[in-house]
């Protein structure tokens, strides 16, 4: 209720422009798959996928900050929402992806043939 009741349609359209541009870049890269990005790995993921994930988080930032207007909330609410999500997701991803990779290596290096 304490928000300033000014219209910010200008910012809304600007954010829409940013989100559209990022999506177009993503689709363009996804169709072309340039070799210098697709074939080069950084931390066991190819550069193209790094770009996709970074752009996704970039889009997510704009959706949450501008559209959901968390930028206008009190910092206590902002922290209560954003930090648990970021921390728990990173933790979850770390655990599950490490374990998934471990299971892959077990399949690959064991004497059991599983895909034939």
């Amino acid at each position: 209720m304490s928000h300033e009741h000014v219209s910010n349609t200008g910012r809304i359209w600007k954010v829409f422009g940013i989100l559209s541009a990022v999506t177009i870049v993503e689709v363009y890269l996804g169709i072309l798959k340039p070799d210098f990005l697709f074939m080069n790995d950084f931390l066991s993921m190819n550069l193209l996928n790094w770009i996709f994930y970074i752009l996704t988080i970039f889009k997510a930032y704009y959706i949450v900050w501008a559209f959901m207007h968390i930028e206008g909330e009190k910092s206590s609410l902002r922290s209560a929402v954003v930090f648990p999500v970021i921390f728990l997701i990173l933790y979850l991803l770390f655990i599950l992806l490490t374990e998934g990779n471990y299971v892959y290596e077990v399949f690959k290096n064991s004497t059991i043939k599983w895909n034939f």
Partner: protein, 325 residues
């Protein structure tokens, strides 16, 4: 916490009740915390997808070979374009939603009505597109063979282009009827039979020496492995099942888990969009009959807007994880 006070009313204790310590009403605060929990649910699903993908990293299907359809363009391989369009529709409906919230702050009822209406239309188009996408996914395009060991074989010609079962499968004088409840002796039935039997596919393959088999294994060039003719014949002799399209047991695209996760995650997201549309319609009619005009605040529109943006947010991640990476 006794010492912490808000600037709004410094006389009272912040957490002592009758106050909004986070500067948001109860309903809005709870919508935020619901979104936090729902975000964690979705990340659980997506992380589980990542787990399975890492587990089968060498044999996972390539997304741009799976989703290649565009409406009214038959036989044209158009990877990504359709989902890109869906993404735009959802982002745009998010824009109209935030414009409705903005108009609500200024108490402009007619503008709220217009933008809410556009949001609902956008949501419906998205759900419809999702249904079309599912239809293509379930129907399949080429068909494949499952071996006794459970791996999947697809058919390609000399140039590596995919060939559908219908283009080469022989017609043998055999006829197997589907076992239904009405014909079974005791609660017995089976799912509908594939169009071709394993023997028909094998005979057709023998009659077309230009055909080769493509396995699930991804090479160093990040393409699927194509076997030589001899290896192909050997692999095909181990065939046990004809796979057409996708269901929860098997799919013609590759790893069985791929279709399961696709159905589950996009289905769960589609369900969110659908319920979002329903909630939007309820709020739309409330705006129309002037409920919030009388209340003097359009905060309800803001709350449903938060949910709607969240649905868009989830789609951004689903789009990346399923279609791009």
């Amino acid at each position: 916490m006794e010492a912490t006070v808000t600037t709004a009313n410094s006389e009272e204790k912040t957490w002592g009740g009758g106050n909004e310590p986070m500067g948001a009403s109860y309903g809005k605060l709870m919508m935020w915390f619901f979104i936090v929990s729902d975000a964690l649910t979705f990340s659980g699903f997506l992380a589980a997808y990542g787990f399975s993908r890492f587990k089968f990293i060498e044999t996972w299907p390539l997304a741009d070979e799976v989703f290649t359809h565009f409406p009214f363009m038959h036989g044209v391989s158009a990877p990504m374009y359709y989902v890109a369009l869906m993404t735009f529709i959802l982002i745009f409906s998010s824009v109209t939603m935030v414009l409705a919230v903005d108009a609500g702050h200024q108490m402009k009822k007619n503008k709220v009505v217009l933008y809410m209406f556009l949001t609902i239309i956008g949501g419906l188009i998205f759900v419809g597109s999702q249904a079309w996408e599912w239809k293509n996914f379930i129907k399949g395009e080429y068909g494949a063979i499952e071996t006794k060991g459970g791996s999947l074989l697809q058919f390609v010609d000399k140039d590596g282009k995919r060939v559908a079962l219908a283009e080469f499968a022989a017609t043998l004088p055999e006829d197997r009827e589907q076992l239904t409840r009405s014909k079974g002796k005791w609660f017995m039935d089976e799912p509908s039979l594939p169009t071709y039997s394993v023997a028909e596919v094998q005979a057709g393959f023998k009659a077309h020496p230009e055909l080769l088999i493509r396995t699930e294994v991804i090479t160093n060039e990040k393409q699927k492995t194509i076997l030589s003719r001899q290896e192909s014949e050997l692999r095909l002799s181990q065939a046990s099942y004809v796979v057409e399209g996708a269901n929860l047991q098997r799919n013609e695209y590759g790893s069985k888990l791929f279709a399961d996760f696709f159905f589950f995650i996009t289905g769960f997201h589609g369900f969110h969009v659908f319920s979002g549309v329903i909630i939007n319609i309820i709020i739309f009619f409330n705006v129309l009959i002037g409920t919030y005009e009388k209340r003097g605040s359009y905060e309800m529109v803001e709350k449903v807007g938060l949910y709607w943006h969240f649905v868009d947010l989830v789609w951004v991640f689903v789009f990346t994880v399923f279609y791009l990476v």
